[in-house]
Symmetry: C2
Subunit: 341 residues, 2 copies
């Protein structure tokens, strides 16, 4: 709806006064990766840095392989959302003083598998020692034609899509951190949508990943585009079957899996109506079926879960995890109270 985003307030405190680069195409929060025009070429460099540390401290990620995989995936997904071709990644590992072999082997295998899957070779990196494990990186990509995707460009009437089923990230966090049972566990191993993002450069008017969940992504896109979204009656077709099973099995409304702050690295994007057909044809030729969520409206900041439905207070949802100081049980309880209203 409206009001400040708590996460952005901290970033403003830290970075508010820094001078930018005349080569940079994007303002703050306007794209998933930073976009830099390369002097002497028409190409645009895409750069993003992300660290997996809170997810380790909270117990959300425990398996070294998954930690390594995610450290690459969170960065690759930002390249995907701007449609960049992957060039490589610099890894940043903060390890305990005497790291056991199985920790090292797991991290290495997870990082290696992800970099192979994405064609995002490890270019170098940095290793440090500290008590708390942290694994991250900086990914670099190239947009050869100089026309990256950003979060800005949606117009009323555009159609809204996701690259695939959503909600796995929320369901995984629910199982791990609240653990109400009812659903069986499942493998959480999200795949950054690099090929889909590169294809969407030709069709989409805006794009963002669901790394923080679908609802926070929709909130951000309404802010950047001063638009709204109206989801169709069947938008919950987009909910991943495993997420539905987990949430329903626990007696919870399945949309809770979309609330964030932990997501699944699909892309959410808008396409002008006239380009929807060609986009679907190109996607089909690549064995990919985007899922239609709804349409873009002119109601700034308003996300309606169906025609004639009351809007979702997306800002409240987005800020809630910080409001409850990252307490998963309190977070779920507040979400449920709001669902009853």
């Amino acid at each position: 709806m409206s009001g400040p985003v708590l996460e952005h307030a901290l970033i403003e405190r830290v970075a508010g006064a820094f001078r930018g680069s005349p080569l940079q195409l994007n303002g703050r929060h306007e794209s998933d990766a930073e976009l830099l025009r390369l002097p002497g070429t028409e190409a645009v460099l895409a750069l993003t840095t992300d660290l997996v540390i809170e997810e380790i401290a909270s117990g959300l990620y425990r398996d070294p392989w998954l930690i390594g995989w995610m450290a690459v995936t969170v960065n690759a997904s930002d390249l995907a959302a701007v449609g960049a071709d992957p060039l490589g990644i610099l890894t940043s590992l903060t390890l305990p003083p005497d790291p056991p072999d199985d920790l090292i082997a797991g991290l290495r295998a997870g990082i290696g598998a992800a970099t192979e899957a994405y064609g995002l070779p490890v270019l170098g990196g940095d290793v440090n020692r500290a008590a708390a494990l942290a694994v991250g990186g900086t990914a670099v990509g190239l947009v050869p034609d100089g026309r990256p995707l950003t979060r800005i460009g949606a117009r009323p009437g555009d159609r809204l899509f996701t690259s695939g089923p959503v909600g796995l990230g929320g369901a995984f966090a629910f199982l791990r951190l609240v653990g109400r049972g009812g659903g069986q566990a499942f493998d959480y191993r999200p795949l950054a949508r690099l090929r889909e993002g590169a294809l969407l450069r030709r069709f989409a008017s805006c794009c963002m990943d669901t790394s923080d969940g679908l609802i926070p992504a929709l909130d951000e896109l309404t802010r950047r585009n001063r638009c709204g979204f109206e989801l169709t009656g069947r938008w919950d077709d987009a909910l991943h079957a495993d997420a539905r099973r987990v949430l329903c099995g626990a007696g919870l409304p399945p949309w809770l899996a979309l609330a964030g702050p932990h997501g699944e690295f699909e892309l959410v994007f808008a396409v002008p109506a006239a380009r929807v057909g060609p986009m679907r044809d190109a996607a089909d030729a690549n064995g990919w079926a985007p899922i239609e969520l709804g349409r873009v409206t002119g109601e700034a900041g308003v996300v309606r879960p169906g025609p004639d439905c009351e809007p979702i207070d997306t800002t409240w949802v987005r800020n809630l995890y910080q409001e409850v100081a990252g307490n998963p049980a309190a977070y779920l309880s507040e979400l449920l109270k709001s669902a009853k209203r």
Copy 2:
């Protein structure tokens, strides 16, 4: 001299099996920054990532301003050592859960001052929360002519230089971590040598920064070039006056300030004899006076502190801090024992 570098052994454990990029010019440890040929241009991208965390945990860096300054400087210095023009930096901040205003303000001021000093604008970044403060970044630079400096290329007969006086990093660490007194404190605020590095692209045969201290840098360069170094009788002219004052004031041999592992971000580089005059002229025109340390020899792995002197066991010096598990007092005691031998 020879034998494995302990720091490299950990990096091999972590990254040993990763596949590289066909666009990458450098192998592991061959340059201070990663060097990537940009498709469709003759330019080379320089990328480096570095995190300030161990220096905070050990108490070496306490002032938020200095922490911010150093987080930028460690990365800028790697760009300097490959002769890249600065494009920008992505910052990575891991902050305590409720960061106090003076911490935020100090970090922001230090980062801001350094990025202004280096012309290295903040392009974006990542903010996380964890118990231990960590501040780092990934710097990006461009070598427009595609001919970066690397650690490789020294030939016997080349002359060896530093960009300025060395030893401040060692003296600062001595005062902070061992604190034997005798010398007064001094401001430690090293300046990455970006302009000097860019100038050296035309003259130097190899280059590296002294971020880990001069002796470890010389050890690395002998390995990469299968060469040796013979320092001239007056090489200790290169010792910074403050470093000499601190070490002598504590009754210690001043060369201990060069042992690392904490350095001062000067450049150490070799220049073929025929290019020394032109290099000095170009430096002079920029108000810069490189300091001659000695010459490159064909004795692989041998660093002699003067003609006819016994070699320094540079590998032993370089590994010592890890051998004593990062205990500053034990480190100093072992260094002193070796000085007496």
